[in-house]
């Protein structure tokens, strides 16, 4: 081994031994090219790079085919119209809790970026989960450019994770629920686009929920004998009309690569189950803010985010619908925990993020942003529980995120959150703070 190394170094040195420079001369003698030969020492020393290149041959072949046969353009042409205002996309989800999923998406948006849209989505998983939705929007020129939208959706989730409600969730006991949902929602923006900083939207919805024992083998199935309290309306089909209003302030300098500005979003919703004798209904209020502060020299930002949420029953004896309760966990709040890890009537949450833009693509203003974040929050049945520090057990998480952003929009992000309970990886696309 040592001999081989000495030999390799010797062969490299052999090739590098002769320092040469230039000289001006005017003679015209002929010099034959040296015979082509294999630089053995260098080949040996470069072998790891060679193996890596061989490993990437499939990538080269793919890239070559895409380039040579314009495959990307052809695929784009198959799935979009000529103006690219319409797209049909097959969806394949290779991995997930519910097994592989397959589906399709039809999207129409003209002009691009306007509220005029129609999106039809359908996905089915091999375990029997499915979701289908139709979402349409329209700008109303006769109403000073306000926008109206209507969406209809239905889904079946047979293995929804459930950790209990209230303080029981501290036990981190995970069960599986099945939830069947139907949603119909209409909304209208209340302010014309000529008021860019303020936003207001009213909505009217009908939601049907049926929550039952789940299916699957990953965790215990929730039933009435489980050691935690079940969600309101368990084993019942409940019908909820819903009225909502959302008011906001948005002073961001851009929706992508935001470096300064402030966002405040307040949302209130009311609902009551229509079934005779049902005692499920209430209101939910959430208020959330985001603040971006630029750091010098540039391309670095501090982002603060915080929010509070409260869910209130109309009458003391009423239950609050499960989907109206405040929850922490998932891709936005306490990112080191799974969805609905903490669920209760009251909640607060906050994040501190340090973001830095470290790669720009060809001067386009778009590129990659890295993020370090720290999240902390709490849920509870009353205010005292929310801020009780004696136990010292505020749920928290830290993590890293990689965001792909353009100067106008945020395209997607990959997040890795770490909490005392484990690691959560989430991937998301679209406009998020």
């Amino acid at each position: 081994m040592v001999r081989a190394a000495v030999l390799a170094i010797g062969l490299v040195w052999c090739g590098a031994a002769h320092a040469q420079t230039t000289e001006t001369a005017t003679t015209t003698e002929v010099r034959p090219d040296p015979p082509a030969r294999v630089d053995l020492g260098r080949v040996i020393l470069d072998a790891p790079a060679g193996f890596l290149e061989v490993a990437f041959v499939p990538l080269y072949v793919t890239v070559y085919a895409l380039d040579r046969y314009s495959l990307f353009e052809r695929i784009l042409d198959v799935f979009t119209n000529e103006e690219q205002t319409m797209a049909y996309l097959p969806i394949v989800i290779p991995l997930g809790r519910s097994g592989p999923g397959f589906g399709g998406l039809f999207a129409y948006n003209a002009p691009l970026g306007s509220p005029n849209r129609l999106i039809v989505l359908g996905i089915a998983n091999v375990n029997g989960d499915w979701t289908a939705s139709v979402d349409g929007g329209l700008r109303l020129p006769f109403a000073s450019g306000r926008a109206a939208s209507l969406s209809v959706g239905a889904s079946v989730d047979r293995d929804q994770r459930f950790f209990g409600i209230g303080t029981e969730t501290r036990n981190a006991t995970e069960f599986l629920l099945r939830q069947n949902s139907i949603d119909v929602e209409a909304s209208l923006t209340l302010l014309s686009p000529s008021v860019p900083v303020l936003t207001a939207e009213a909505s009217l919805a009908y939601r049907r929920r049926r929550i039952e024992s789940g299916e699957g083998t990953g965790s215990p199935i929730f039933d009435e004998d489980a050691p935690v309290r079940g969600p309101p309306g368990f084993n019942q089909g409940l019908d909820y009309p819903e009225l909502g209003i959302q008011l906001g302030v948005d002073t961001r300098d851009s929706f992508g690569l935001t470096s300064r500005g402030f966002v405040l979003q307040n949302r209130a919703r009311l609902t009551q189950d229509l079934n005779p004798g049902s005692g499920t209904g209430g209101a939910t209020l959430t208020s959330e803010f985001g603040l971006w502060l630029p750091l010098l020299p540039r391309n670095r930002t501090l982002f603060f985010r915080g929010g509070i949420g409260s869910s209130i029953p109309f009458r003391n004896r009423d239950d609050i619908p499960f989907h109206f309760l405040q929850s922490l966990g998932g891709a936005s709040r306490l990112r080191g925990y799974p969805d609905n890890r903490f669920v209760d009537e009251l909640a607060w949450w906050s994040s501190l993020e340090y973001r830095w833009f470290f790669y720009e693509w060809a001067g386009t203003g778009g590129g990659l942003v890295s993020t370090l974040f720290f999240d902390v929050g709490q849920t509870g049945p009353d205010l005292e529980d929310l801020f009780r520090t004696s136990a010292g057990n505020f749920p928290w998480s830290v993590g890293l995120a990689l965001r792909v952003e353009q100067s106008l929009i945020m395209l997607g992000r990959l997040q890795v959150g770490v909490s005392p309970e484990g690691v959560q990886i989430s991937f998301g696309i679209g406009d998020v703070l």
Binding site: W13, A17, E29, D46, P297, W356, A362
Partner: protein, 544 residues
Amino acid sequence: MRAGFFVLLLFGACAGPSWRKSPHDVPFQRTPPPVLHEAFETRPSSEAVEVARHSAVRPLGGLVSPGAYAERAGARRRALDVNEFGQVTDSSWFTNRVSRRPWSAEELRQGPNTIDGPAEGPLRILGGKIEGVAPGFVVEDQLGRRFVVKLDHPAYPGLGSGAEVVATKILHALGYNVPENYVVTFDLERLFLSEDASTAGKYGRRVPLDRKLLDDILSNANPFPDGTVRALFSRIIEGEVLGSFEFEGFRREDPNDRIPHERRRSLRALRMFYAWLNNTDARSSNTLDVFIPSDAEGQLGSVRHYLLDFGDALGSAGTEPKYIAEGYEGLVDLEFMAYGLFSLGAYYRYWLPVQRSPFRSVGTFEAQVFDPAWWRPAIPNPAFQELAPQDAYWAAVLMARFSPDLVAAAVDAAGYDTNARAWVLRVLLERQFKLIRWGFGERLPLEDRRMDEVAVRWTDLAVELGLVDPGAQAYTCQLLTQKGGSEIQTHDRPLCELAPLHDQIMETRDPFMRLEVRRRDLTRAHVLHLRRTPAGLLPVAVRR
């Protein structure tokens, strides 16, 4: 024991100067006439693969390869297309021009051009590309000469065409094969469509180029009030096109292509010249191999290697000005990405103060922030990455041959307005100065050797260019033979007097000896190897 002996033998063999083993002790100046062969198939290439390979896979490979670390530590492979004086010999790749004799401004302005541009009269459009805001066509003039015509972006008149012309003139004078490029202001009325004109349509298919498509193109041409437009006419190179050449390896079909391209000094040193011209698009797709027939039947011939498409030179990015990071960071620059990522954004990009020039015809072209060591093309070029100090020195000497008048002649050929011309010229001269200083490094730049019976004299380019103070310099010279060293001579100019050395030269049994010249402020010596012959002393090699 045997292995140790073998290793010692190997090192000993390698340590011997190659010029002592060569059949001639004279400075070779050109390669032999090429072996004639038939044309071969065009090699397919893909820009996308080039980007993936050189921007992502190769840098990752460099992290895990001892060879890459050895190279960074100085174990660079020497160039193979050079003689014992470090000169690149004339070949189908490179022809010594400004390095062989001083050029006049008029010669440089003429450059590779053999005609005065397209003939007067109608220009028949044979085909072209229609996509993009600055499309191109292929036209034929009345004398049957064909040109690729590139229109400038309507918002940046003169930007792309000016960059092409300046780069063409300078690269040609340096010694490279480049196409004939002409800036022409012509009336659009001269254009007419050939019946069988075609263009690249969707998915690269050929589609007929009709009047409507042509009108679409010309509607974006932004003509002057008199109906004329400024365009670059690039004359189509005669011969059979064989595709582009790679900047590494060699083409096995070509019997004359025997030196790996990354070991050609002419290609390695192109990094210096492209840094001077800020030509960031150094992909292999901007090169061309052309088969030139040389027999009467046109069957046998050889390949000539061209550099093409300098629309990304100076401050131009083809059709628009460069973005400010171009030339300072690669398109997918893993090194800078890692600095930015792992410093948590604290790493300050040194190029951030770069600003676009005030001239639309110039774009983003500056010399203040420019650092020769950090310049890089958009996509890593394997030959550029092999640039060794000896290659950089050779390039610096070539660049030193360009007086301000010669550089001005190249800029004048582009037809800039007065202020833009002054900007481009100033920046080119400042970049040239920085590159020469960097290329010389710690080497003593003694050139233009004059040798007679009395003395050997050189010109110190560093003094001539004002890089060092001429009055404060002192040079020493010593003859080293088999018998030992002579007395050290001290002069205020680079000079070795031979008369005091006569006895020592004649007494030594070994006919090979060397003169070591040093300048006080440098540790490295300029070493001239000599051979004693009946006719006198013959220079056989130079080492620095």
